[in-house]
């Protein structure tokens, strides 16, 4: 895919998705008051 080995595409995509999911979880659960 895109001239890259599958392992490159999958490993980068998986890490990006995990990071975004974690930051989304933070945003949804952080209460945001002092």
């Amino acid at each position: 895919m895109f001239g890259l080995p599958d392992i490159t595409v999958y490993s980068v995509c998986i890490v990006v998705v995990v990071v975004i999911a974690a930051l989304l979880y933070w945003g949804l659960t952080f209460k945001g008051h002092d």
């Binding site: 392992i7 490159t8 890490v15 990006v16 975004i20 945001g32 008051h33």
Partner: protein
């Protein structure tokens, strides 16, 4: 090389920054206004200030330069650097902001002095260490500004450095964090929009994303692998690299101090995600531009200058080829200058704060009036700029290496005292002093040995399996744990005041 449009555009950008400085200077009534913008930063100003502070010379020149030199195994930089903003906000920012509001912290050293009941020793060591690491980092930034001005105007290095120093210093010195934050708002917007428009054009001219990858694979299949088999960018190295960039940048004094200036803690809810996505898109595009540049150089489309740090020029020459209109080069030069200056100004202000507030006001002369402290901050901003300008006259071989070295020293010096201070009630003053001192000294020594590829006691520091900062970081952790167990605990009252414990927010 420069025509009248280029000169006018770059001059207009510089004048715009000076105007922000002049506007901001009217808002400065006291040291707190100057150093933490009166704790009044809104969501977007804060998010773009964080992006601007983290997005530095490395972002444009270093990221593409590294992509040019080493291909896809370096791609992880594009995840860990934007993630540093989220790490800083989540693991440091929430607690520090909450405590700072009641305790009145102006710098992160205020927190360390309070949490570890060390108003003199730890504050001084921390401020001195902060100044040293910020100066190392600042040299890398000035080198990046000089690269752009030399490329655009064909002027000598000393003149390029002088122009860059003068402009950045004036608006930072007169406007403090208000000027830095509002300048960063504009600089980061220029960076985000500019890169999103220009990077795809360069990749298109290189034959498209797939062609670039296929060509790199044909030169050397390792260039399209996600990691190397051994040495730099092998899996163990990448783990140390993740810690270096994510934690090291997050605890850097010029980054972490921003969390003290936000108006409302609720902005921390979405700032990590917004900053990661916005900056992530830009930094990925920049890396792809470095790949495209590598392919174009190999195909003989253009040649890089014969200088030691030629890779750092790849994005500039790519622009020159893909957009053969000088006016667009000027636009791009402004984008690069915006990225670099947004970090440089924050670094200089941080050095000014650490000297005038932490060392002068809090240690040397506690009865100094606010006016004197404010004036001293401005003088130190100017002196730090002039000092690093002299150091930047001999630029490093590769910008990314110097900047990582600066981050490595920041990681080893600040991460352990801060994380242990915030989350471990057993961490003591002596533990923090030992961790900070040993982390600083060992990272400076390891960094230097690594840079010159020294062979000491049978260890070749040029080929160690982890980034050098991982070793000094481990030394700092051990120092903190061993010394803390052997020394007197911090009082429960201070631990409660500083919200110390195994939680982010209650």
């Amino acid at each position: 090389m420069a025509d009248i449009f280029t000169i006018v555009l770059v001059a207009a950008y510089f004048l715009g920054m000076l105007a922000i400085g002049a506007w901001a200077s009217k808002k400065i009534k006291n040291t707190e206004d100057y150093l933490v913008a009166g704790r009044q930063l809104g969501f977007w100003v804060f998010v773009l200030l964080m992006i601007g502070t983290v997005a530095s010379g490395m972002s444009l020149l270093g990221v593409s330069g590294l992509g040019f030199a080493a291909g896809w195994p370096t791609i992880w930089e594009e995840i860990f650097v934007p993630l540093a903003i989220g790490f800083c906000i989540i693991f440091f920012g929430v607690k520090l902001h909450n405590v700072a509001k009641t305790a009145g912290y102006v710098t992160v050293q205020d927190y360390l002095a309070h949490r570890y009941e060390s108003p003199t020793a730890l504050r001084t060591l921390s401020a001195v260490a902060g100044i040293i690491v910020s100066l190392i980092y600042l040299v890398g930034q000035y080198s990046a500004i000089a690269i752009v001005l030399i490329w655009l105007f064909q002027i000598p290095l000393w003149l390029a450095l002088l122009i860059a120093t003068l402009i950045t210093t004036v608006y930072t010195a007169i406007g403090g964090l208000y000027a830095v934050a509002w300048a960063s708002l504009i600089q980061s917007a220029i960076l985000l929009i500019g890169v999103i428009i220009m990077a795809p054009i360069i990749i298109f001219y290189a034959g498209g994303f797939t062609h670039v990858n296929e060509y790199m694979a044909s030169i050397n299949p390792a260039l399209v692998n996600p990691w190397n088999a051994a040495g730099a960018f092998a899996p163990p190295y990448l783990v140390s690299f993740a810690v270096l960039l994510m934690v090291g940048l997050a605890c850097a004094p010029h980054v972490i101090n921003n969390v003290l200036a936000i108006k409302d803690v609720k902005y921390f809810k979405w700032a990590p995600l917004v900053a990661f996505v916005a900056y992530g898109v830009v930094i990925f595009l920049l890396k792809f531009t470095g790949f495209a540049g590598a392919v174009m150089v190999k195909e003989g489309v253009f040649a890089l200058p014969s200088v030691p740090n030629a890779g750092d020029f790849v994005i500039l020459y790519g622009i020159q080829y893909a957009l053969p209109v000088m006016a667009l080069w000027a636009v791009f030069a402004v984008i690069v200058l915006a990225a670099v200056m947004s970090t440089t100004d924050r670094l200089m202000l941080t050095i000014g704060a650490m000297f005038s507030w932490d060392i002068y006001k809090k240690v040397l002369k506690p009865d100094a009036d606010d006016k004197t402290v404010l004036l001293l901050s401005k003088i130190v901003v100017v002196l730090s700029a002039l000092g690093t300008m002299v150091l930047a006259i001999n630029p490093p071989q590769m910008l990314a290496i110097l900047i990582w070295m600066g981050i490595g020293v920041m990681l080893s010096t600040f991460a352990v005292p801060l994380l242990a201070g915030l989350y471990w009630r057993g961490a003591t003053r002596e533990g923090a002093l030992a961790a900070m001192a040993l982390g600083l000294v060992s990272s400076l020594v390891f960094g230097m040995l690594n840079y010159v590829k020294a062979n000491v006691l049978g260890i070749n520091f040029g080929t160690i399996p982890l980034h050098f900062s991982a070793y000094s970081f481990i030394i700092a952790i051990l120092a903190m744990v061993i010394v803390s167990y052997a020394t007197k605990k911090t009082s429960a009252k201070v631990l409660d005041e500083t919200q110390t414990g195994w939680y982010i927010s209650k």
